[in-house]
Symmetry: D2
Subunit: 302 residues, 4 copies
């Protein structure tokens, strides 16, 4: 069934005007071909459908935040919410003032401040933080050669003054326990992970499969998975989470590399890649394609 629908969406999407700019704050992201486009869907029953550039790896960037939160949640349970909230953040303009107003507790783990706090937790919990995080992702996906892109990580480190500001600000409130430089190093590596559309659907399989990976390993229990999906639904798309929920109606997570992963619990995981971003930093064509998917199939959580 998905074969025909995805084919139609792909064809229509390619006809859309080319809107949006590629992320260009570091050369490694700016050099990507902006016209790359792919859609990949993996169903819980094991079927896979892909069209376009679905096997080429790209920088998953903030999509990685859903994975770091899942790992921290599996290790620490509800305790993580003592240091980070579960509420959408309003607009970007408010992020710093909110952090001040709310005494250093980021609104949610998907804004950069929250992801830095999660990184700090993982550094404390993991023996070899970067290696262990990579191991977690390889384990979820069953793909052994998923890796950091060290050039991307280094570039972000060289220019990431705003993230350094956030980390220091959090530390001034006592919400970073480890060394600021170590937290930033972990965070920039985490965001630099490269995956393809196909690989993203495999990695996020357990979000749609009640916590079980495709090889049957339990990552999170059913209640935890429900909560992770809820969190992605309200906070997964920066300041456009409401818009994504409104238009697409699936929990998901996007990154400035142009990737989006979304899922319908107990049904499927779908991933898109198109590097042109709208003004909110989300993939323009990716959102279009996913809106078409839920509209044409009537399959959404609502």
């Amino acid at each position: 069934m998905f074969d025909k629908v995805l084919q139609d969406i792909y064809t229509e999407s390619k006809l859309q005007p080319k809107i949006g700019e590629i992320a260009n704050y570091i050369p490694e992201l700016a050099n990507v071909n902006p016209d790359k486009f792919g859609i990949y869907l993996t169903s819980i029953s094991g079927e896979e459908f892909g069209i376009g550039d679905v096997h080429e790896r790209f920088s998953i960037q903030s999509v990685s935040k859903a994975l770091s939160v899942a790992l921290a949640y599996s290790l620490l349970g509800e305790k993580i919410w003592e240091r980070v909230g579960v509420e959408p953040s309003g607009n970007p303009f408010n992020s710093l003032v909110q952090l001040e107003y709310e005494k250093g507790i980021p609104r949610n783990p998907f804004i950069n401040a929250g992801a830095l706090v999660i990184a700090d937790m993982l550094i404390t919990e993991l023996k070899n933080p970067k290696e262990d995080f990579l191991g977690f992702i390889r384990n979820c996906s069953g793909i052994a050669d998923i890796n950091f892109d060290y050039k991307v990580a280094q570039s972000e480190k060289d220019t990431g003054f705003r993230n350094a500001a956030l980390a220091n600000f959090l530390k001034s409130f006592g919400n970073i326990n480890n060394d600021v430089d170590e937290v930033l190093d972990f965070y920039f590596h985490q965001c630099s992970i490269a995956m393809s559309c196909s690989e993203l659907t495999k990695t996020f399989f357990f979000f749609a499969n009640q916590g079980l990976t495709s090889s049957g390993e339990l990552i999170l229990n059913q209640s935890q998975v429900k909560r992770m999906n809820a969190l992605m639904q309200t906070c997964g798309f920066y300041d456009e989470s409401g818009e994504f929920t409104y238009r697409v109606g699936l929990p998901g997570k996007s990154g400035v590399g142009g990737g989006i992963v979304a899922l319908l619990p107990k049904q499927f995981i779908v991933s898109t890649w198109s590097p042109r971003l709208n003004s909110n930093g989300n993939s323009e064509l990716g959102m279009y394609a996913l809106e078409q998917l839920t509209t044409k199939t009537g399959m959404s959580i609502f």
Copy 2:
């Protein structure tokens, strides 16, 4: 099936410590017995389950906003989003500054500023705004004697300086077309509507039934209903929308009268009433009961 579950939840809920304060900014709300408590569930297949104070009417307050938006949406379609957004609002502290920053376009139709803009739309569109809005609700629910509580409406008008400030502020941006006093009068009446838990589930039936009321009338089409539910999911619980989504995992809407209505598309509509509010203005016990419901049954959208 729901019989036993609701009975258990009711029993457990009654044993919870009595936390939270009743809304007391007007005498009409302050005089309600804080220990009132009821849960009512109506399934799409037509079954009904109720326990506790489910037939006593209370002031639905902001629950009415979901209904005024639904009516405006049915009359004007996507055009309504030119004057109000679909994004969660962050914290209350930011509401005014956001309105300024975003040039008088409220973040969503469920914050007061947004509801005032919706009220302004309805005044323009409806011949006899208050009567017609009441007619719409009677029609959705099939209950002919649902009515405004004129004493509540008058009290709110006498003390509603903050809403008057918002309406004037919106008008200064050109986002209120009618007279400020007329908009406030409509808004205060809308919020004063009194319903019981049982009646709420009947009124919101079409949100869970792909847009059709129980008598088969089409209020919104399927795509519109999906979008309304998405909107309630991300914005329906003030600054606790993320928390409600995280804990309960159902789209819904709350009011300071202590009522909550929530729903699982194609399955059921559930309503709770308990006047004690938490610090975010949501019913403490209502949220507890609904969290129990989705946890015990495993029935949520995620």
Copy 3:
């Protein structure tokens, strides 16, 4: 001595590029000839020097706030600072959020919110508020026919939704005691007062003369006058108070009608009128002329 200096400044000022826009939010202000320009200086010793359009009346607008504060201060003393602060307000963007953050206490009496609170005080204290305020000004200046411009006042009332928002917001915090409409009516009349440059220097004579009008009446004592001047220095020019202090170095007050009054204690009062406003709402040419005055004469408070 001032004769030659003022003549030079006038000549140079007329050669300046015509920068800035006339206030145009109401027709009565928009219809003024933007090239009007005058400078008038009255020394404490009784000498007067004027050049240009110094005897034509214009709408003094916010310049009136210094007079309403002086009257409230003379009637209520330090008590007025329980309801309004003495700190500069930062940028306009913050005004509403500050009001919220600081529980309805405006930062100072020269921002609109503060002026509304002062208006509320005067309504409570004065028997016939508008008439008595006019009488106060006539008394300070010794000019019997100074009056409101009723057309200006009515126009502001018809379009003053932002001030209505502020007044309602203040009332929601309990910092307006009288009826909102009455406060707005007083405020709009106060701002509509028409005076010429010459008349402004006479009205503000007591600010530079240790509290005594030119006819020898004591309006404020020496300590109070010092404090009034201090307040104008830090808060008298909207969000450009620092800039005015930096460039001119005299306490003063401006209005969107294009008027500025400034003074050197025990020396002189000077007034300028030029309706073209810079982006902060202050008279572009007036600020230029006053900067020239203190630079050429070396006479400033610093």
Copy 4:
């Protein structure tokens, strides 16, 4: 004349209730005896009057900002205002949001963000930044052994995460040219300078003497000094600049070490030291003593 007045003020001040807390964020400041108190006045004509603990050195902290701005201003002239403003900052809560809103241009050079930008300018302009800055101060004061307190500087470095956040945030806007760590190192050393009340009046002599030090060296010209004093008047006391101007009526600068320096142009420089701070971080007793001084003598700029 000042002898008797200062004696009276000293006696009265010692009778005041002991209000306020000593700065305690680093041990070096927390260990100071909170009851230290001194007043020192140096007149332009060369007379000196002192009473209390006027020869004991303390950490001047933010008082140093007036000196770093003076040095940068003397080196770069009006160009410095391209990177930092001259407006008061409103309340502390807004500082970060303003920095964001105003694209990384701090409101004035006395808030920490502004002082960091000034530090960055000095590092670029000076050959040996820390040594040269110390040389500048020794030169202004004529006191050869004024020095940094290296323990204080180190302590601030170890805990100054908020300043590190600010510096990184400024760098993300391109308003820091040098290495963040180097800027912070300079800044923490600058603030650690130790001086006595007596020494402060000598160092700030040129602010009151039209730019000339007591040994006759020209640091700033007359117009520049006027502007420096104007800046201290509107921005010198954190979020209490309006209050200080209102109560005292002299330009000045305070520090969390409990020191205040103020001056009446062409008349005198006065300094106080009392480590107990009010909630705005200004010396409680110091402000009291200075208010008494201008009230008793009638000598203020207004």
